[in-house]
């Protein structure tokens, strides 16, 4: 390229930025346009000047476009920024734009299914970002995050569709909030760098409280505060744990790194491992939510608008369980194993039983569904604490199931709220006569939530309970009473299924069946086109997952195997180590689980120090077997 052409292409971004910024406003004078143009040029200058330089390419298996995850995550975020420039007065334009972006995102996420999810990371993309801290832009997907991403990209358009039906004011803010939330949730699922994960984790909170606080119910502001401050407390403790891990890694390996792959090599002394486990675990326990950190959930769910509740239940809660598997079990497997029986008991009694019993007593249907969420997430966490193939796979499947069925439940509750502007059970009764299709759909989703065979709930719950019964992690530690505790947990969990049937069928009976007592219910409209369109994919999924679960399980199996293998290795190491041993760096595993490992930046610069004690040259396993 000739020098002239090169200079031209160098200057073009600045000229373009100046032109766009100067021509965009409609009423400003020349001086103000010049000022805006100058600001735009300054922005381009800053971005170009500060942009970090690239790393050598990470090898990806063939057929995996490394930018797919970037598109999936940043398309909604870019869309959110663009929405700010769309006219506020044309809600139709805003709505179509949002549908378009979310639709494109869903199609892009379907591209993730093109590749079989073998062991290891797929669609990986690594870029340098802040080398001084060892922070990289590192995204990848595996069998665990694959389905959660698809759940997200399916649920958000449904929630948006429902929201546009009932929310008519401040559409621009609504679109901005949804797009930003969508992008942030997806980013949290795919980040393998702890700084990037934390960034998306915190970024999710702001659009959520905006949604709750602007379009929420009567006590929306109190619910918004509670949600934000509760979740942020957990996040700050997680940040403290992250900073400690990074510091230890720097001390042991000689170079800083925020990367998940690098930090999972750390083997900490007992007190430090427990402290970090508590830091991460608390953040995730608040998000899941696990008893006793669940008190924000009923308020947030009840006060949020319908679409917000759908997204909150279907996706945000899964971030807690995803985080637990990825970080607590992945990085602190030994401590997770030691804590599993206690946490399992909390999940069973505090989650499944308590959630179900409190749900039974609720008079507000939405609050009932919120507590049923607590109960269902208790099942999910129990499967994780069981720590075997059936338990963990069942738990991941149950995450999907919960997203589908509870999302559908909140949608259905929203239908009734739209009709009557009340959610109290006693206001209804016998409305199956007036809204037959709605009643049928509600009963189907109830069956799914309860776990009737043929629906998705059955497969997930069955696998979780089976995993609990056969779990060696949950079994009592003493030899004589082997498996006793696991059997107890399993039995109580199975009883929890019965309780779920009790409260769900009870509320179904009270709302739909029996005599039509309230005159106001006589002329209610059945589900309209918008609501049916929103429910259809969820209902379809209920049966698809229930009847053909292998479509989903087959893509999770290898990942779950490798997760459980690591968990078992960590448990063995934890049992073998003395409690007060010094922190050390485990040897690298190698293999497909370590593609994208952050290499020491100093290694290329100078040759390895002779006889150096730096652990960065930790002995690799002979033969490099995974």
């Amino acid at each position: 390229m000739s020098p002239v052409a090169r200079t031209f292409f160098d200057i073009v971004p600045y000229v373009l930025a100046f032109a766009v910024a100067a021509l965009l406003p409609r009423r400003q004078g020349a001086a103000e346009r010049a000022g805006l143009g100058a600001v735009a040029v300054f922005a381009v200058l800053i971005v170009k000047g500060l942009w970090p330089s690239g790393l050598p390419d990470t090898p990806n298996p063939a057929g995996e476009w490394k930018h797919l995850l970037d598109v999936i995550v940043f398309l909604p975020l870019l869309g959110a920024v663009l929405v700010l420039f769309l006219p506020r007065q044309s809600p139709a334009v805003l709505r179509r734009f949002t549908y378009g972006i979310l639709g494109l995102d869903f199609l892009a996420s379907l591209g993730l299914l093109a590749v079989p999810m073998t062991k290891g990371w797929h669609f990986q993309h690594v870029e340098a970002w802040i080398p001084a801290f060892g922070i990289r832009y590192h995204v990848a997907v595996d069998g665990l995050s694959l389905w959660l991403i698809l759940l997200t990209t399916l649920t958000t358009p449904i929630a948006v569709h429902v929201s546009f039906g009932s929310i008519k004011t401040r559409i621009k803010d609504l679109c901005f909030a949804y797009l930003m939330l969508h992008g942030a949730m997806l980013g949290a699922f795919v980040s393998l760098d702890l700084f990037l994960f934390f960034l998306f984790w915190e970024l999710m909170l702001v659009p959520m409280i905006v949604m709750i606080g602007i379009w929420g119910g009567v006590e929306k502001i109190k619910a918004a505060y509670k949600f934000f401050l509760y979740t942020m407390t957990g996040s700050m403790l997680m940040l403290a744990a992250i900073l400690y891990l990074v510091y230890q890694h720097q001390k042991l390996a000689g170079y800083p790194s925020f990367d998940y792959l690098a930090l999972s090599r750390l083997v900490l002394p007992s007190w430090a491992a427990w402290a970090c486990f508590v830091g991460f675990g608390l953040a995730f326990a608040i998000k899941v939510p696990m008893f006793p950190f669940h008190t924000w959930l009923p308020d947030a769910h009840v006060q949020a608008p319908t679409g917000g509740s759908i997204v909150l239940a279907a996706v945000l809660l899964k971030l807690g369980t995803y985080g637990y598997i990825r970080f607590c079990m992945g990085m602190f497997g030994g401590v997770a194993w030691a804590a599993a029986p206690t946490l399992g008991a909390v999940a069973v009694c505090g989650g499944i039983l308590y959630g179900a019993l409190v749900a039974w007593k609720q008079d507000d249907v939405k609050r009932l569904v919120a507590y049923s969420s607590v109960a269902h997430m208790g099942f999910v966490m129990l499967g994780l604490f069981a720590g075997n193939q059936a338990g963990v796979t069942g738990s991941i499947l149950q995450m999907l199931n919960h997203g589908v069925s509870t999302g559908a439940l909140f949608l259905l509750v929203g239908v009734i709220y739209d009709r009557r502007h009340t959610r109290l059970v006693r206001e209804f009764g016998g409305i199956a006569k007036v809204m037959p299709v709605y009643a049928a759909l509600f009963v189907i989703v109830t069956m799914s939530s309860v776990g009737v065979p043929g629906t998705n709930g059955f497969v997930g719950e069955f696998m979780v309970i089976m995993g609990t019964f056969t779990s060696s992690t949950l079994a009592s530690r003493s030899a004589e009473t082997v498996r006793n505790f696991a059997v107890q947990q399993g039995s109580i969990a199975a009883f929890g299924v019965v309780l779920a049937a009790v409260y769900m069928l009870s509320v179904t009976q009270k709302i739909f069946f029996g005599p039509l007592t309230n005159e106001k219910n006589r002329r209610l409209n059945d589900v309209n086109v918008r609501e049916t369109l929103a429910l259809a994919p969820l209902i379809a999924l209920i049966f698809v997952i229930g009847l053909f679960p292998n479509i989903f399980l087959s893509r999770m199996n290898e990942t779950t195997e490798s997760l459980i293998q690591r968990y078992r290795d960590a448990r063995a190491a934890y049992q073998a180590r003395p409690a007060d041993a010094d922190p050390e760096l485990a040897p690298r595993r190698g293999g497909p689980l370590e593609i994208g490992y952050p290499e020491d930046p100093g290694e290329k610069a100078q040759p390895a120090p002779a006889g150096g004690t730096e652990a960065m040259n930790a002995p690799r396993p002979a033969g490099g077997a995974p």
Binding site: A132, M232, T233, L243
Partner: protein, 515 residues
């Protein structure tokens, strides 16, 4: 001439300030204001003067950057200035930060002063001379220079606070700051005098060297030196507005016109941190004084903890946004003090304080700027109720304010978040054998949550509440200067937060050569 080149940023701003002052004094008042009795010649020209002041200050920032790239000045050229002014990279970093903060405040004044009936020109030479004093304070290598620079900076600020001559609140604020500031300066002088008596030096390097042998033994001179350290610390803590030396801050910030508040929160605080770092690391950097057992670090860590917690708790109870921002700046001083505690263990960790000051400068200037934008024509936006519903009435102002508040709260992906991450990771680095410091990390991070509450409150009022029917509400102003300043600050907040690579390198280089 060559000898003065290292001091180019300070000289540039000082000389240009003199020229601006002459232009303001000998120019004619704007058309339409002539004939009004008692008006000075700067009346009606706040806009142009603001532009001039901003150009001068941003020019000073560019001169600092240029000097940085030109390389560290040679021995011969710095010898003429040393030990009075130390123009190393540490100083250049702070000159840049101070000029950016001052420039943003000057632009805010260009929009605020005409709108609120304070359209007088003497504000701008005052802000320029205060910035000169602030830069000299960051460069001070000698106790005498420190005092002169401190007073230069402060006297200008006292006048800027009291700009609204008829307002009793402003006069009260100015008088409070003046009296307490003079008191603190007197304490610092007393401490300096004791240090001179104990060590025979007034330059910080000399004091540091002379304290070494003193610390080994005991006796009268050591007692004098330690008392001098304590008194200097008191004076510096006052300037930094750490609890319990913070009592002047809320009243002074609330009574002053908002651009002055912005300048105080940004430039005065940054300069105070610069001089605090330099004094502690150079004069009192001896291992025995900076040791955990018997030195200043434990004192500073307790002050940091108390500042963060007390300020965050009180800020949550405020009804006035301006006062809340004052308490928030006290809390941020606490976070930055945490960074200094870390630097006591390992000097290169002082880079966290430098980066934090830069991030804090752009975020706070933006927050006060958004507050300026939200009010107009005599009806200033001061209380939460004034801001109710702005999210609907004037979305750009609300969005700008939200961005800066989220940066102050420490929500990613802003500069404020990265600043907090850096400071607390520095503390974790320094907390190797100390349980108290580990506790401080956790308590400090939890303080962010307490802080998030009152930042969130503004968001709640802006987006989720409607104004009471019939209540006076603030209407946002239309001002090119304020919009430009906000755009600049917003770009810097997001850019430094998302792509901090260069700023981190710069901060590290500055901290290494520095105190």
């Amino acid at each position: 001439m060559n000898a003065l080149l290292p001091a180019a940023p300070i000289l540039f701003v000082a000389v240009s300030a003199l020229l601006l002052m002459l232009a303001e004094a000998f120019g004619s008042p704007a058309t339409g204001t002539a004939g009004e009795v008692g008006l000075d010649v700067g009346a009606g020209r706040a806009g142009e003067l603001a532009l001039g002041a901003a150009v001068i200050l941003f020019g000073g920032a560019i001169v600092s950057v240029g000097l940085w790239w030109a390389g560290t000045p040679g021995e011969a050229s710095t010898a003429a200035l040393a030990p009075y002014l130390v123009m190393d990279r540490f100083t250049l970093f702070f000159c840049f930060t101070l000029c950016v903060g001052g420039g943003l405040s000057a632009l805010l004044a260009g929009g605020y002063l005409p709108e609120h009936g304070l359209d007088r020109g003497e504000f701008f030479p005052l802000i320029l001379f205060s910035t000169v004093g602030a830069m000299a304070l960051a460069a001070a290598g000698d106790l005498l220079t420190l005092f002169v620079a401190l007073e230069t900076m402060s006297l200008g600020v006292y006048c800027m606070i009291g700009l609204r001559r008829g307002s009793s609140r402003a006069t009260e604020a100015a008088l409070k700051y003046f009296l307490l500031g003079s008191f603190a300066a007197a304490l610092m002088l007393f401490g300096g005098a004791l240090l001179y008596g104990a060590t025979g030096h007034t330059d910080l390097v000399g004091i540091g060297r002379a304290l070494g042998p003193l610390l080994g033994g005991s006796g009268g001179n050591l007692a004098l030196a330690l008392m001098g350290l304590a008194l200097m610390l008191v004076g510096l803590m006052f300037k930094v507005s750490a609890v319990p030396f913070h009592m002047w801050t809320p009243d002074a910030y609330e009574g002053a016109p908002t651009p002055t508040t912005s300048f105080m929160a940004v430039a005065v605080k940054s300069a105070a941190f610069a001089v605090l770092l330099r004094v502690l690391m150079t004069a009192f950097g001896d291992e025995r004084l900076a040791s955990w057992g018997a030195g200043w670090p434990p004192v500073l860590s307790v002050l940091a903890l108390v500042s963060m917690t007390v300020a965050n708790l009180i800020a949550g109870r405020q009804q006035s946004v301006k006062r809340m921002l004052a308490y928030s700046s006290i809390a941020h001083a606490g976070y930055a003090l945490v960074g200094i505690v870390a630097a006591a263990r390992r000097p290169e960790l002082a880079a966290s304080v430098l980066y934090y000051m830069l991030a804090y400068t752009v975020s706070t200037a933006g927050a006060f700027g958004a507050l300026v934008l939200a009010g107009s024509r005599g009806a200033e936006a001061v209380s939460y109720a004034d801001l109710a519903g702005i999210g609907k009435r004037h979305p750009p102002a609300a969005l700008a304010f939200s961005l800066f508040l989220l940066s102050l709260a420490g929500v990613p992906p802003t500069a404020g978040f990265f600043g907090k991450l850096y400071v607390f990771s520095a503390l974790v680095d320094a907390s190797a054998e100390s349980t108290w410091l580990k506790v401080l990390v956790v308590v400090g991070l939890l303080n962010s949550v307490i802080g998030a509450y009152y930042y969130l409150r503004v968001l709640v009022f802006m987006y989720m509440r409607e104004p009471e029917p019939g209540a006076p509400i603030a209407k946002p102003m239309r001002s090119g200067y304020v919009t430009f300043a906000l755009a600049l600050a917003a770009i810097l907040v997001v850019a430094i937060g998302l792509l901090p690579g260069t700023s981190l390198e710069v901060a590290r280089a500055a901290a290494l050569t520095g105190p």
